[in-house]
């Protein structure tokens, strides 16, 4: 475990809070992109030894999470002329507060789990959990479909952090499959958002409530 890992993870956590606090869609996308790049770097520094798979994963993360997805999403909002997330379902300040509480809870939960010697004292596990939680928060509190996709991205970022600790458990092929799935998933979501705009003239998910009991 490199000494660089923990500071990087702290930055990741700060980006989480930023994402929860921002009301601008573009800023959220940029934040997610930054987080993606940071994760790529993290992949390079997480283990003392640098193997081929580390490099490949790092490259994949930077290209997809840092560049491709944000670009895709940015394109979508350019077409849509969406600028601002209107007030989220529970307000920005409460969602920030909840995010902070969630981060604290993640730390507590992670500390209740026994860590492998390599991760003793590191922020990998709590950082991963906190990021997953942040993703969840974005998904449940943001009205715009596009912000929800950002939330999903952040959630996946959390998983990525967790996965970094276990790179050797994942064969390369599976790792590629995971990234591919993620890519296709985001892509499909992008397509749906596009259709949504055509069908409803908006990507406000509040409108998507006609299917119910």
């Amino acid at each position: 475990m490199s000494a660089l890992a923990s500071p990087l993870l702290v930055v990741v956590l700060l980006i989480n809070l930023f994402l929860l606090g921002t009301s601008r869609v573009r800023a959220a996308i940029t934040g997610a992109a930054a987080q993606g790049v940071l994760l790529g770097v993290l992949a390079l520094v997480i283990d003392d030894a640098l193997s081929g798979s580390h490099i490949a994963v790092a490259a994949g993360a930077i290209v997809l999470k840092g560049i491709a997805f944000p670009a895709l999403l940015a394109r979508a909002i350019r077409d849509l002329a969406v600028r601002r997330e209107i007030e989220p379902l529970i307000g920005l300040v409460p969602s920030l507060l909840l995010g902070a509480i969630g981060t604290a809870a993640s730390l507590l939960f992670a500390s209740s789990l026994p860590l492998a010697p390599a991760h003793e004292g590191s922020l990998v596990v709590p950082g991963a959990l906190a990021t997953v939680f942040t993703g969840f928060m974005l998904l449940t509190t943001r009205r715009k479909a596009i912000t929800q996709v950002v939330g999903y991205l952040v959630l996946e970022n959390g998983l990525f952090i967790m996965g970094l600790g276990l790179l050797e458990a994942m064969p390369f092929l599976v790792e590629v499959g995971i990234l591919l799935d993620l890519f296709v998933g985001i892509f499909v979501m992008g397509i749906i958002i596009n259709h949504m705009r055509r069908e409803f003239g908006s990507i406000d998910t509040e409108r998507l409530t006609s299917l119910r009991e």
Binding site: T205, R212, E213
Partner: protein, 658 residues
């Protein structure tokens, strides 16, 4: 020989397939289907006779690959006791159906009726000879679902749809109870076979309570014990009449059979089992007949009488259980023999009554009692059949109903003479209750017979009614003859009863009940008939000697222009008695408002909806339905909420389980 009953089952099950011939050949298919049922029934009757004498000859034991299942077929005297009326009544019903529900008149559903009729009969027979729970339940459900399809035959009518839904839901409730029952039995014995030996020793008290409650609910729902009878009136009223006859005459008895069969697993049942059954019997008997009294619908009325008669059977069975708990073989023998014989008797006379009622419906197109009248002159054979059935169902000598009630009475008197408090309480409660039931039944059937068949027709359609054909009167004659045979020579059936009772309770002596006094009963019945003949002959002689004037109107206290509408109606006839039971029956009256010196024409209308269904179950459904509907607010379409549920599930699960 071994395959006698399975062959009968296969023939009846497949009979309907023969009926699926194309429309051009419909009549041939019909005849073929009925022929197969009759053939199957003949084989089945032969099989049931064998079952009485040599049960082992019919035992089949083959492996079956389903978990817990075995193809264990056993026809002992107890099964035969129920198989015999099944095959008799189903054959009668099938023949009757040829004329009552032919393809020619019902092109859309007559084939279906025949198909499901055969399946139902096959299911019934399977239930009776199955000695493994899986086989039993398969038969049980085939029977229940076949009957469901039959009940829903005329599903274009909303009333029929309602009845069939209530029936389906009820029968499923019963089946689920049986799942629980056999599941629990398996937990105790480790087997789903009926060759269990004594279960009681291995079960804890709680398990015993559970077993009985599940059995009582599961089988009681099928039997129609009050208050589990809710499905019964609607289903019986709305099914085609020969189906009603099968359902009321035989299908209900499967509940009784289940109770008899399963209680046989327990040589010393807890005392409260019998007491509970006696209680149910008394309630069913009295309220069943009370409800019947207030009905306007001929078939609904008969249906409530099924509840009453099941009550009498439950009374007998409960008595037998009490006897077994207390170690009093006299109670066991009399109670069980009475109950089992009443199973036969009710099967015969209720089928007869339903067939006769069906003939009335066929001829007049209405089931409304107060629209009928004077049919005795127009349909003399049907009227005679109904009269025989009425006398039998009231338990009046010299017909069969009296014999079984007598056995139950003897058991109850025996119990009342016992020093044990539970036993004499059962007797002291049961005997007067049975007397009350009998007297109320007389009131009810005098009413029906009088209003439907006597007096003058109350509507034009009825006036033009004609007697039905031989295919319909023939089965009625056969059933009526059987009623008379058992009534006049009850000693004939005692050996069968004794064997069945012995199967249920091996500790019984080979002879149950006072066979000697049954011979005397035959003598007394003979005397009664002789006296009737003598009196009738004298009256006829006197009538010939002195001129009889016939062509005059009823005197009516001198009123010159009586009309059929002035006749006493069924509602009025029963009004006082229904009033006595108003606390339980909750009759509703719609009274016209009469104002001014020249009031508008108004009609008084009374109705007696089922209390348990109308005041308890449906309101409960109406209450719970919206409550559940309120839960739907949880899914109002917002994907955010859905994701939140997931988050909550994750957090909660991690908090609870780690």
């Amino acid at each position: 020989m071994r395959w006698l009953i399975p062959c009968a089952i296969a023939l009846t099950a497949l009979s309907g397939v023969a009926g699926l011939l194309p429309a051009r050949r419909a009549r041939l298919g019909e005849l073929l289907a009925v022929g197969l049922v009759v053939l199957g029934a003949a084989l089945g009757l032969a099989g049931s006779v064998v079952g009485f004498v040599a049960s082992d000859a019919l035992r089949i034991d083959l492996p079956w690959s389903l978990p817990g299942a075995r193809l264990l077929v056993r026809v002992d005297a107890l099964s035969s006791m129920f198989l015999a009326p099944l095959f008799f009544v189903s054959a009668a019903g099938a023949v009757y159906g040829l004329s009552y529900w032919p393809v020619r008149e019902h092109p859309r559903d007559a084939r279906g009726v025949r198909l499901y009729y055969g399946l139902t009969v096959a299911g019934l027979a399977t239930v009776l000879c199955a000695a493994n729970a899986v086989l039993f339940l398969v038969g049980w459900e085939v029977m229940a679902l076949g009957a469901f399809m039959l009940v829903g035959t005329e599903h274009e009518r909303a009333e029929v749809r309602g009845a069939s839904l209530v029936y389906l839901v009820s029968t499923r409730a019963g089946t689920l109870c049986l799942f629980g029952f056999f599941g629990l039995l398996y937990a105790i014995t480790g087997s789903l076979d009926f060759d269990l030996g004594a279960v009681a020793g291995r079960a804890s008290a709680t398990e015993l309570h559970g077993l009985f409650v599940l059995a009582l609910c599961g089988f009681g729902l099928k039997a129609g014990l009050m208050p589990l009878h809710v499905w019964l009136p609607g289903a019986h009223a709305n099914a085609p009449s020969h189906v009603s006859a099968l359902m009321s005459g035989v299908l209900l008895k499967m509940g009784v059979y289940g109770l008899v069969r399963t209680t046989a697993f327990f040589p010393t049942p807890p005392l409260w089992w019998g007491a509970a059954l006696v209680g149910c019997g008394v309630v069913s008997g009295i309220l069943g007949v009370a409800f019947a009294l207030g009905q306007h619908d001929l078939k609904r009325l008969l249906a409530y009488h099924s509840v009453e008669n099941i009550g009498i059977i439950a009374l007998g069975l409960g008595l037998a259980l009490v006897g077994r708990s207390l170690g009093a073989p006299a109670l066991v023998g009399l109670g069980l023999a009475g109950a089992l014989l009443h199973v036969w008797n009710h099967g015969l006379f209720k089928a007869l009554l339903f067939l006769a009622a069906g003939a009335v419906v066929h001829a007049t197109g209405t089931r409304e009692i107060d629209a009928l009248g004077g049919l005795g002159k127009r349909m003399p054979k049907t009227a005679l059949a109904f009269l025989v059935g009425s006398v039998a169902i009231c338990g009046l000598p010299p017909l069969n109903g009296f014999v079984s009630e007598l056995l139950v009475y003897l058991g109850l008197f025996e119990a009342a003479a016992s020093p044990d408090a539970p036993a004499w309480l059962v007797g002291a409660l049961g005997a007067p209750a049975l007397a009350l039931i009998g007297a109320l039944a007389v009131a009810c059937f005098v009413k029906v017979y009088g209003v439907v068949f006597l007096g003058e027709p109350r509507s034009a359609k009825v006036d033009k009614a004609h007697e039905v054909d031989k295919l319909m009167t023939g089965p009625m004659a056969a059933l009526g003859a059987a009623c008379a045979l058992i009534g006049l020579a009850p000693a004939l059936v005692m050996p069968a009863l004794a064997r069945a009772a012995h199967t249920w309770a091996p500790e019984l002596a080979d002879e149950v009940g006072p066979v000697a006094s049954l011979a005397w009963l035959s003598l007394a019945n003979g005397l009664l008939l002789g006296l009737v003949l003598v009196a009738a002959a004298w009256l006829a002689w006197r009538a010939r000697a002195a001129a009889t004037v016939r062509d005059v109107p009823t005197w009516d206290c001198g009123y010159a222009a009586p009309t059929p509408r002035m006749q006493y109606t069924a509602s009025s006839f029963a009004a006082t008695l229904v009033g006595f039971f108003a606390f339980a029956l909750r009759p509703s009256r719609f009274r016209p408002e009469l104002v001014g010196p020249f009031p508008q024409r108004g009609t008084l209308f009374t109705s007696l909806p089922d209390v348990v269904l109308g005041r308890l179950i449906l309101p409960a459904f109406a209450l719970i339905g919206p409550l559940l509907a309120r839960l739907r607010k949880l899914t109002q379409g917002s994907v955010h909420t859905y994701l939140l549920y997931m988050l909550v599930a994750v957090v909660a699960a991690l908090l609870v389980w780690r």
